[in-house]
Amino acid sequence: MSHKKIINVALIGNPNTGKTSLFNELTGLNQKVGNYPGVTVDKKEGSSKLQKNLKAIITDLPGTYSINPTSLDESIVLKTLLNSKSEKKSDVIVVVADIDNLKRNLLLFSQIKDLEIPTVLAINMADQMERKGITLDIKLLEKELGNDVVLLSVRKEKGIDELKKAIVNTYHSAKAFPLCNVNNRIDPAYFDRLKEINPKYSIYELWLMITHNSFPDTISREEKSALLNFKNNSKNLKKYQHKETIFRYQKINEILKNTYLVDRSKASDLRSILDKIFTHKIFGYILFFAVLLVIFQSIFDWASLPMDLIDAGFANLSSYVDKNLPEGVLTSLISEGIIPGIGGIIIFIPQIAILFLFISLLEETGYMSRVVFLMDKIMRRFGMSGKSVIPLISGTACAIPAVMATRNISGWKERLITILVTPFTTCSARLPVYAIIIALIIPDQKVFGVLNLQGLTLLSLYILGFATAIIAAIILHKTLNVKGTSFFVVEMPDYKLPSFKNVFIDVVEKTKAFIFGAGKIILSISVVLWFLASNGPQSYKDVEKNITENVVHQQLSQHKINKMIASSKLENSYIGIMGKSIEPVIKPLGYDWKIGIALISSFAAREVFVGTLATIYSVESDDEDITTIKQRMASEINPDTGTRRFNFPVGMSLLVFYAFAMQCMATLAIVKRETKSWKWPLIQLFGMGTLAYICSFIVYQILS
């Protein structure tokens, strides 16, 4: 009997305990990010070989201080633990604790134990015991807890094998009993009545269900309503929760009294020195803005080369496919729908990966918590939280990961405002649009001898994005009538050197999540747009015949004729008809139907604007470099006035439109997912759209 066996192991622990490092150490790159059923939080899973013929599927649960949740991330932990009767239940739970804060970490451990699931306690950062003046009697601790305890130093790769052995032992012995019988210490009669309602579950499980309205998936409607009914007749829920926590700490203090000793005189003062600098009233801010400048500068410097290469690579691939595959619908779909669609996703990877790299570094070192501390009061004036800073910075790469980064903001109103205003920050998809329009309307001159006027315009657009996000937040703060208390507590972790393995895996995982999350939408819209652009009513089908007949007397090269056909086909395609039908609406902004088509196409991703205009102006894809499109755009004439189409007023109007309008289906879809309603994405779509329209209108009318 030597068949392979697979068990489920969940990692749970406080933030900053090295839980994710342990996960990375156990699973390496054998990870995948999935979704928890019914909820939106990413589920990180990986596999690890425990011993011969025994493999573990390891789930990395979001970091939490307790199983009583205060944010979306944390409610996942509770939900997962309550599903202990389902098939996907965890066979063993590993509670990862940090030697420095063992007391607080044991609170979570005591809660898990009371759920009566087999548990291993893994105490990390054991290598720092001596430096921190800590002594721990591990044998006695094991005895007092009645549980396997393993000492780890994940960063030094120590203790991993011992942990694996302990997991296997715990799995086989399957011993699971509560550590604190809290019910007996609070109100035994009350908890007896609770247990009578549904003896299938343990008292602690029932208690968690009624205090958090969180139920296992397998529970029936009748069972649920019986529990809710009991809850509604309970007066002292909150008081009992307090008592429970106090009792747990009493028990933990008793256990630690003889096993865990700290000589605080050995504590290092590196933390206090760095804190004095990073949270200083003046230097703190200067440093933060310096860090931001370095990040943005690097994103531009490092990302531009790979982005150019990707852009050129996909354009070449497209024309290669076009020339070498037999002509037909399929080839056209591949070369004009799918390849540019995939290219439109890949092009963002350099900027997004670089930004994630910085954010990950800042979080790993512990600096990010100091930024949250510095910025909280300021952000609160705008209805947000100090934790909103991270999404707003991420938004400069892409709004999609930024919206997902709001999950640890505990106040619903603060989180919602952050989600709603994040798309105003200048994301990387706006850059190609800005770049080409700025090149068209702003002279390449220096002002004051040093500052480049074009660069200055780009910088103003960034500032415009941030400023609008702030103003929108203030308005939402004043007008939104959303319930939900906000509660703010941030742990200020010790400063530490980042682990490059963690940073690397983090960047890879987040980038992958972006590609597969946003990518699906960008790709499918590209295909829809391709269909709309390559099909049309009867007039579309007649284009080729009409043009060939009309030009038969003129001395034109076949090349020129083909271009005319392509351009006229687009005009008569469905998307051309759409562009023409919105022309009356966008004319007051200075746009014609061709720009209209580009605006519609931008819903796939804003940067599609450039490519669409290139097609409309029938620039052939094989010489699709920026100068040709730019030259072609520069020579486009507005037939009504006889002057350049992309003159200063139109260009400014377009810049303002792209700064404000919500032209990104992928972001709308993510906002829907995160807010669980179409209401908020629709408010974004129409609110930002109206703002864009009005502002562009004013800009165009004043300037022209």
């Binding site: 201080y65 106090i246 009233k281 510095l374 909280d376 009061k377 703010f488 507590v489 200020m492 972790p493």
Partner: protein
């Protein structure tokens, strides 16, 4: 009423029993218990949030929360 919000930087105090039910559960769970020693480490610019060390945990909390937690100042 003496609360954490009235501490000066570097000052030590003990959390009193009186405000037990005013302390948010999450803070209790993070070690902010009656009887625990608390030190104010830093105040953010604009006087909010506060950076405290309680029971070995370093936490940033808002002033409104701090003002709910009664203390007895250490002599």
């Amino acid at each position: 009423m003496t609360t954490i919000a009235s501490l000066h930087i570097g000052e030590l105090a003990y959390i009193s029993e009186e405000s037990l039910n005013e302390i948010p559960l999450k803070l209790l769970e993070m070690g902010c218990l009656p009887g625990a020693e608390v030190e104010l480490i830093q105040i953010a610019p604009l006087n909010d949030p506060l950076y405290i060390c309680v029971n070995g945990s370093h936490l940033a909390i808002r002033k409104e929360t701090a003002a709910k937690i009664q203390i007895i100042k250490a002599k």
